[in-house]
Structures are given as C-alpha cells and as structure tokens.
C-alpha cells in the first residue's frame, strides 16, 4: 500500500476533508434530562424526550453549549451571538423524532483552524465549522430484524468539519489525534473511539498534480477508528486512481468502508441525496452568547498540546520528547509540576518519558489514576541526586509505589532502602570484611585487581545492598593500601 500511495502522489494530489463527530461529556443529554453516559446495557439511559414521545419538548443543555463553545474557541473559530438549533428532517429509526436537532444556520464556531505537529514541521488545518447536534441511536441489523439502542440518542455531539486542506492519510490521522487532544485538554470529551465517542466521515477526491480544480468527491461515512481512517483513505485513493488512470469518471457518492475487507463499497449516489428540509426549531428560545460568557470560557481553556510542544522545544527538549510529554494534558501538567518543583528540564523529561510512562503502560494506568503525586517524584529525584538512593533503587521504588499507591519516599524508609553514604559506617564494615578475607586482600596486593569486585560485593552483602557502591570501592582500596 505504501508504494501504491507513493505512486499515486507522483501523479495526483489527494484532497481530504474530514467531518469528526465527538460525544461531549455532560451529565445529561443535549435536550433532555436523560443521563449522558456510556453504558453497555442497552436502552438504560433513555427518557420520553430521547424516544420522541408525542408532546415532549427539547430544552437546551447549557453545559453542552458551554463545552461546544470552548471547543470552538480552542479551534480558533468565530462564535455566534446566540445559540439556535435547526431541525434536520429525515426518516430513520435511529432518530426517534425523525428529525435531528443540529446547527445549520448558526454553528457554534466557524472559520477556525487547528495547528498540527507533523514529523516534518507544523501544518495548519482549516476548520470550516463546528456545530452542536444530537446523537443518533446505535442500530444493529440482522437477517430479519434490527435492534436499536437509544442510549446514545439525543446525546450532545459536536461535529467538526475541516476545509478540504488535508493531503495525506498521515495528515488526516495527525489532525484527528490533535483534535482529540484538544477535546481532552479542554476536558469536554472522553473521545474514546472504542466507545464510539469519536467517529469520522472522510471526503476524498483526487486531482491531477498541481491542478486547481478539485476532483469528484466521495464521502465515506462513520469510520470508527483512526487506523481505519488511514486504511479507508489509502484504499479509496487507490480505487479512484485506478479509475482515473483508465480514463474513467468517478461518481459523486457515499461509500462505506469495510474494515475487514479493507475496501470501500458504494452506499448511495448523489442522486439519492436526502433533502433535509432544514428549518429553525421553534421550541427552543435562542440562548444569548455574551462577550463576558465567551471570555469566561476562553479563560478556562488550558495551554493546548501544540503550544506545549513549542514550549518544551524552547526549553531544550528534543521534538520527540516534547511530543510524548504533551500528548496528554495530565502527563504534561505532571511534567511541568516537576520542573517547577526544581528538577532540571532534561532530568524531569527523562524520568517521565523513560521511567514513568513505561510503568503506566505496563500497569495499564493513567497518570491521573496514580497516588504518586508530582511533589513525591520531585523528592525522590532529589534523593537520587544527593546520592541518598541509587537511580536503580529509585526506579524500583517508584514502580512499587505506583502499584501499591504509596509515597515512594516513605516506602524507602519502610523498606530500609536508603543508601549508606556515611564514610565512617562504610569504613567499619570494610575493615570487618578485610579482616575476614585475608587471602583475597593478599591476592589484591599481589596485583590481581579483579578481586576488588569480590571485596566490594562482600561489603554490599553485609549492608543488604545499601552501601553506596562508589564510596565502598574507594574505601576498600584506601584501607588495603593503608593496611
């Protein structure tokens, strides 16, 4: 596939636009009091409103609006002066009212952009708009029946539409990861693809290299993982290139990506396009968006991934380490806390990237889950630096501390692990060992320096491994030469 894509890009520009749907985290659904929460139990979080019973009315969830506005601002979008919703009319059982409330006339954000860090530099992705709407139910179709789970129906869903400015699967996936990080940094979504909380429609067309005119666009709906986005883009680019090379014409259509077969299949052509008959929802009173509210929300947006990466590189870290550290807000915050605790940037980065993240991955934990707070790690690192414990000891203790939810410094005391760095104390033990190991001492004096390791080892044994090995070595040599 890699080579096929490489060949295509010699002849064609691949032009991609994405529509990303992300479920926002709120207590209740977008227009009703039903719980908005992922659960595997079907139809547990439902109410008369999300089932569209006669006489029910929507009420705007202000928290969902606030979070959508935050996303819009984080994506550098312009925000409207009021929040209104439109009805998108179409018949399908996954939308019980057979119209979906969405924002066609006044999206919560328009004309924005998102900066994406790529291997070979930064890329600016245009955001056409981002709008708040209600989610549809999940449906499973079987041979002669279908099952519907309305848990998701009516949940707050933010749809973000890019401009057609993405030119490769790499860029598409990098954008999706960045977008996800923005949502997570802002704390407005869980955005877990496995829970169907972030899904994506991909629009793709090919045009002769350098041409100004866009080719015929194909839409692929509801792709549920970033890996599948990559596969869908690549397989569809290959399909389109094959047709174009043979002099064929593409039809504007909607295709379904089959992740088992790794291919796309036609769903419907543009001729079958639905007229959604959009019109303003009359049951909702417009929610005013004041300048004060906007600046309040803006103030709540933390420094995002892109800016943090830039900052870390400025601090002297490698691009690779900066990206790893800024991937998750929790990790980035933890890292920055350690730095402000007095640990130098490179040491702090090393501890997080090389040690901490490895343990978290191994234990299957998130940084927010662990009880080893940044202050504890700062203390542990300073113990290593002052020679109170060895680096290896500290690493071992950290792992145990994370696993057992304990303070690593207290753990060191408890386990009697702190290193003996007292000259007098070590010297006494060394003398004891030298008295016992007369033969070895003689061997050393005879020029066999290898025996030194044995003697140091004996001291370590006596101290239960706590003697500072460097100091021990020096003292052993001193004592033999003296003696």
């Amino acid at each position: 596939m890699k080579n096929a894509i490489k060949d295509i890009t010699k002849e064609f520009d691949i032009v991609i636009g994405l529509e990303v749907h992300c479920v926002l985290t709120t207590k209740s659904k977008n227009f009703s009091g039903a719980r908005n929460e992922f659960t595997s139990e079907a139809n547990a979080n439902i109410s008369e409103v999300c089932l569209g019973f006669p006489g029910t009315l929507p009420v705007v969830n202000k928290e969902a609006v606030r979070k959508a506005l935050m996303a819009a601002l984080a994506m550098n979008c312009k925000t409207p002066n009021e929040i209104v919703f439109d009805r998108k009319n179409y018949y399908y059982p996954d939308v019980p009212k057979n119209y979906q409330l969405t924002q066609a006339t006044k999206p919560v954000g328009v004309d924005g952009y998102v900066m994406v860090v790529m291997k070979d530099g930064d890329k600016r992705i245009g955001i056409h708009d981002t709008h708040l709407e209600e989610d549809a139910a999940a449906m499973d179709h079987f041979k002669d029946y279908s099952l519907i789970d309305y848990n998701r129906a009516g949940g707050p869903l933010l749809e973000t539409v890019t401009t057609p400015c993405i030119y490769s699967a790499d860029e598409a996936v990098a954008f999706l990861e960045t977008l996800r990080s923005i949502f997570l940094y802002c704390g407005i979504a869980e955005a877990d693809p496995k829970k169907g909380q972030i899904r994506c429609d991909v629009n793709i067309s090919l045009k002769p290299k350098g041409s100004e005119i866009l080719g015929t666009r194909v839409e692929m709906k509801n792709i549920n993982s970033f890996t599948n986005v990559r596969m869908a883009i690549e397989s569809e680019a290959v399909r389109q290139a094959d047709i174009l090379r043979k002099g064929g014409e593409l039809t504007q259509e909607t295709r379904r990506f089959d992740d088992v077969k790794g291919k796309t299949f036609s769903m419907r052509s543009k001729a079958d396009a639905v007229d959604y008959k959009y019109y303003l929802e009359p049951n909702l009173v417009p929610v005013k968006v004041s300048d004060e509210w906007i600046s309040e929300i803006r103030d709540e947006i933390p420094m995002l991934q892109f800016e943090r990466i830039e900052k870390y590189i400025e601090w002297g870290l490698s691009r690779g380490d900066a990206i790893v550290l800024a991937r998750e807000k929790g990790v980035a915050d933890y890292f920055e806390d350690i730095v402000s605790g007095g640990v130098t940037v490179s040491v702090a980065a090393n501890w997080i990237v090389e040690v901490m993240l490895g343990y978290l991955a191994k234990l299957g934990l998130e940084i927010g889950d662990i009880s080893v707070k940044s202050g504890m790690l700062v203390e542990l690192i300073s113990m290593v630096e002052s020679g109170k414990v060895s680096r290896n000891q500290a690493k071992d203790v950290l792992e145990i501390a994370i696993e057992k939810s304990e303070d690593p410094v207290k753990l060191i005391d408890k386990m009697g692990m702190s290193q003996i760095s007292d000259d007098e104390e070590i010297r006494n033990i060394v003398r004891e060992v030298l008295k016992e190991q007369v033969a070895s001492v003689e061997q050393y004096r005879g020029g066999d320096e290898k025996v030194l390791n044995f003697l140091v080892g004996q001291v370590m044994r006596k101290t239960g491994g706590k003697a500072n090995p460097g100091m021990t070595r020096g003292i052993v040599v001193e004592e033999i030469t003296k003696g």
């Binding site: 089932l51 006669p54 009319n89 009212k97 519907i148 009173v285």
Partner: protein
C-alpha cells in the same frame, strides 16, 4: 343529583362541595352518567369509568387523580372536567384521535394535566379532536364525527370538538382544549360556550401533542369567562420543560369589571366582507359593538391592508402544515403506536403511516413537506414567516393604541356536515382564518357567545396584545354580562326535561 347544573360557575360548585351540599363523587357520577346518556354525540374517546378500568387501557378517575385533596384546596378540587385527547396523561389512553395512536398510553404527564391533578381537579374523560388537532370540523377523529347538539346536520367545528360538546352538553363544567389556528374558539363559538386561548407560552406545552409548535397553545372551554380564567390560572406558569413558557400574573384578580375608557378597534375590511357574506352574522356583530359601547368602552374602526388580510389563510396553512409535517414524523410505529409490518425499517414506517393517517392529514403532510423542500422553502416557508411578521407588526401597532380587537368569531354559523371547509377559496378569503392572527402573534384571544342566529349560537371574539390576558378576559367578562347569553342554559334545561 339528576339535574345538577354545572353552569352555575366553578366558584359556586366549589362552595357547595365545601359546605357538603354535594360531594365530588356525586359530581363525577353526574358527569359520567351524562356522558353516557349523550354517547351519540361522539365527544369522548375514553371515559374514566369502571368499564374503561376493566379494559385495562385506563385507570379509573379516582386512581388517576390519586387521592383528591380535600374540598376547598383549590376552586377546582373535586370538580369533574374533560381533557382533549392530545394531552398526555400517564396511564390513560391518549390518541390524538389518530389511528396510529389508538393504543398509546403515555408514561408521562403533560404539565397542564399535572397542575390540574395537583389542584384536585377530577378528569372524567378524554375528548375527541380532529385528527392530530388538524382541521376545524370535528369530523376527522378516528372514533367518528362529533355531533353538534344544536343541529345534528351541522359540524361542531374544531379541532377541540369533543371538549366543546362536553361543555355545551353540561357533561362537565369545563374542558381543556388546544388552539393553533382557532381550535378552541371556533367550536366554542359554534356551540355557545366560552373559548379562551391564552398568550403563547402562558401555559406549558409540555405533554401536548405538537401540531404547529410556534402557534400551539393550551386553553379552556367553559360556561363563563370567569370559569375559564380560574382554570387557566391553575395551569399557567413557567415550566422548565418548556423553554417558551413564562410566568404571567394571576388572571382572576384582574377581573374587576372596570372597562370604562378602554378602547377597542374593529377591522373595517373584515366587517365589510362579513356584511357582504352573511348579513345576519354581521348584524349580531354590530350588536356586540353596541354592547361594548354600552359598557363604557370606545370602539373605533381601523383599517388593515386587504392584501395582508388575504394572506393570513395561506400563511397559516403554509406554516402550520410545514411544522406539522416535521412534528408528526415521530409517528412511525417504531417505538410506540400501532405498527404495521414491513421487511425493512423503512417499510415499517411507510406502511404504518400509509395505513395510520387519514387522507385529510396526509394531504397536509404532503403540503408541508413541499413547502419545506430546499427549492421551495425560501418562496413558500420563509415568505410565509415574513408575512406572518408583517401581520403581527400591524396588529402590535394597533395594540399600542387599543386595549383590544373586537372581531366576529366566525363568518357564519356552524357549516353543514357535507360542506367542505378545508379548501382555500378565493371568495371571502379574508374571512376564512383570521382568528389565526392571534396565533401568529401569540396574542390572548377569548370568544364568548353573542347570540343565536338561524337557531345556532354565534360568538364574538376579543383579542389583546401578548401577555395582556387579564385585560382581554376583563373586557370579555364585562361584555358577557351585558350580552347575557341564556340560550345554552335554556337548551340544556329543555334537554333535561
């Protein structure tokens, strides 16, 4: 209890309940007995008696109202009433008089019903409407036509047909209706009862089957303006489940009967048209103008652009059909309602809707759908909304100078059953839907009986600026007193003999 008179007024009935002269059980029994006695009028979808309880479709009256609070808790405590069957009542069949919903038993209460229940009002039945509240004949409910007690060859009007008939037959002292174009006021005028459509949003629409959401209101059919105000007072108020609801002031308090110096206007073009169309109705209308003057009010003639008035009917249909199409697209049989079989989800929905709706309703859906289509929306829907705004602006302008608009309630007496009223005709276009102007602007609008013409009651309508319900009702109370309409009382007396 054989001839208990519900026309004596809610306050009087309540006093009799408190003094123990009558009991709530006796009143409910009177209502149920009369409802059965008048079964042929087709007013009820469901009666909350022991029989309905046995069918398992409904709870009995006592159960649904739980334990009625002791008499006197509110004026409505212990007094029976009827509810239009497009208002959601937990555990009680609610059909919208639509075949698709003939087995639909809601799991939640409409706010207006909850408030009435909390006040101790006793619902005795659910009344027939024109299917899904669309239409003004009383003929299109799936249970069959509602019969006009004044003249069985004539329509009742609608869509709150069953509610109007239940009050006009003395089955209940009041009934709840809904009004999107004139659905309370139209049958009220035809049957000689009071019909009150409050300001949009004064009574929560939560639980009320949506017809045209931007115009739908809940209101009251009663024997007197004061009774209507008492009932509306019980139901009104801001409801967090309806974003368009608001808190109005107490209505009954405003009924002080002082209208000296108040100014009313009549629309010249409407009067001219009426004079040409039916002289006897016009004459009755002139009498009501004199009544207003006699009561100390000033009545002046104002002009409204004929072209604008001609648009009202078309605009009403465009907007209401468009909204109705979308509002009723939940009726597919997938989650609730009577589901027809099909091989795919699409087929299930198509078959359910094909079989479940009458041609009359389908026609409106097709019209609404056409109006909302991308290529027609600007010309038909958006323009209709613009004209609606122009009409509302003109009337708001008038309401700045006047306390109310005095209008004939209808262009004639109730039409004959076979008379087609759901077709736009160019002659008398101005007369066919002007009461909907109150729905365009959300204005409060009260219809009171103003006399009998050709053996049928006719009414006069008072409409005021939005949120001035108290003002409109106060004018109506005074006019009601001066008019002194007795024909319904006499008719009921005659029927009971």
């Amino acid at each position: 209890m054989g001839d208990y008179d519900f026309g004596k007024g809610l306050k009087k009935i309540s006093e009799e309940l408190i003094s123990g002269e009558v009991t709530s059980e006796e009143l409910v029994e009177v209502s149920l007995r009369r409802a059965k006695e008048f079964e042929k009028y087709g007013a009820f979808v469901t009666l909350l008696d022991d029989e309905s309880d046995k069918k398992g479709l409904t709870a009995s009256a006592e159960e649904t109202s739980s334990t009625p609070p002791e008499a006197g808790k509110s004026v409505l405590t212990g007094i029976p009433y009827a509810m239009k069957d497009n208002v959601s009542t937990t555990g009680v069949l609610t059909t919208g008089s639509c075949n698709i919903l003939r087995d639909y038993v809601p799991i939640f209460d409409a706010t207006c019903y909850r408030k009435l229940s909390e006040a101790g009002a006793v619902m005795v039945g659910k009344t027939v409407l024109d299917e899904l509240a669309m239409g003004g004949s009383g003929l299109t409910g799936y249970t069959g036509p509602v019969v006009n007690p004044w003249d069985e060859t004539r329509q009742t009007g609608g869509s709150s047909a069953g509610s109007a008939v239940a009050v006009a037959l003395g089955v209940v002292p009041y009934a709840i209706g809904t009004d999107t174009g004139d659905s309370i006021r139209n049958p009220a005028g035809n049957l000689g009862v009071v019909g009150y459509k409050p300001t949009y949003g004064m009574i929560s629409r939560w639980g009320v089957f949506a017809f045209a959401s931007s115009m739908d209101t809940v209101g009251v059919l009663a024997r007197s303006v004061r009774d209507a105000a008492i009932v509306a007072d019980t139901m009104r108020g801001r409801d967090e489940l309806d974003m368009t609801s608001y808190d109005s002031g107490e209505l009954v308090d405003g009924l002080d009967g002082d209208v000296k110096g108040k100014k009313l206007f009549v629309v010249k073009e409407l009067a001219e048209e009426l004079k040409e169309h039916s002289l006897d109705i016009y004459e009755n209308y002139l009498e009501t103008i004199e009544v207003a003057r006699k009561a100390g009010m000033e009545v002046l003639e104002e002009s409204v652009d004929r072209e604008l008035l001609k648009c009202v009917c078309g605009v009403y249909f465009a907007i209401s059909c468009a909204e109705a199409t979308s509002n009723n697209s939940n009726l597919t049989g997938v989650i609730f309602g009577v589901r027809e079989d099909g091989a795919t989800p699409d087929e299930v929905m198509i078959n359910t809707r094909t079989k479940g709706f009458s041609e009359f309703v389908k026609k409106r859906f097709v019209l609404g759908s056409y109006i909302l289509q991308a290529e027609n929306q600007e010309k038909l829907f958006k323009n209709a909304q613009r004209v609606r705004r122009l009409v509302v602006d003109r009337f708001n302008e008038l309401f700045e100078k006047y306390d109310g608009w005095l209008a004939p309630n209808a262009m004639g007496i109730a039409p004959k059953i076979d008379e087609e009223v759901d077709r736009l005709s160019n002659s008398y276009l101005i007369l066919s839907q002007y009461l909907a102007i109150a729905n365009f602007g959300g204005f409060p609008s009260v219809t009171i009986p103003s006399g009998v013409v050709r053996n049928n009651p006719v009414g006069v309508n008072i409409t005021a600026k939005a949120k001035d319900d108290a003002g409109a009702l106060n004018i109506a109370v005074v006019m009601e007193k001066v008019i002194g309409f007795k024909a319904l009382d006499e008719k009921l007396e005659e029927m009971s003999r």
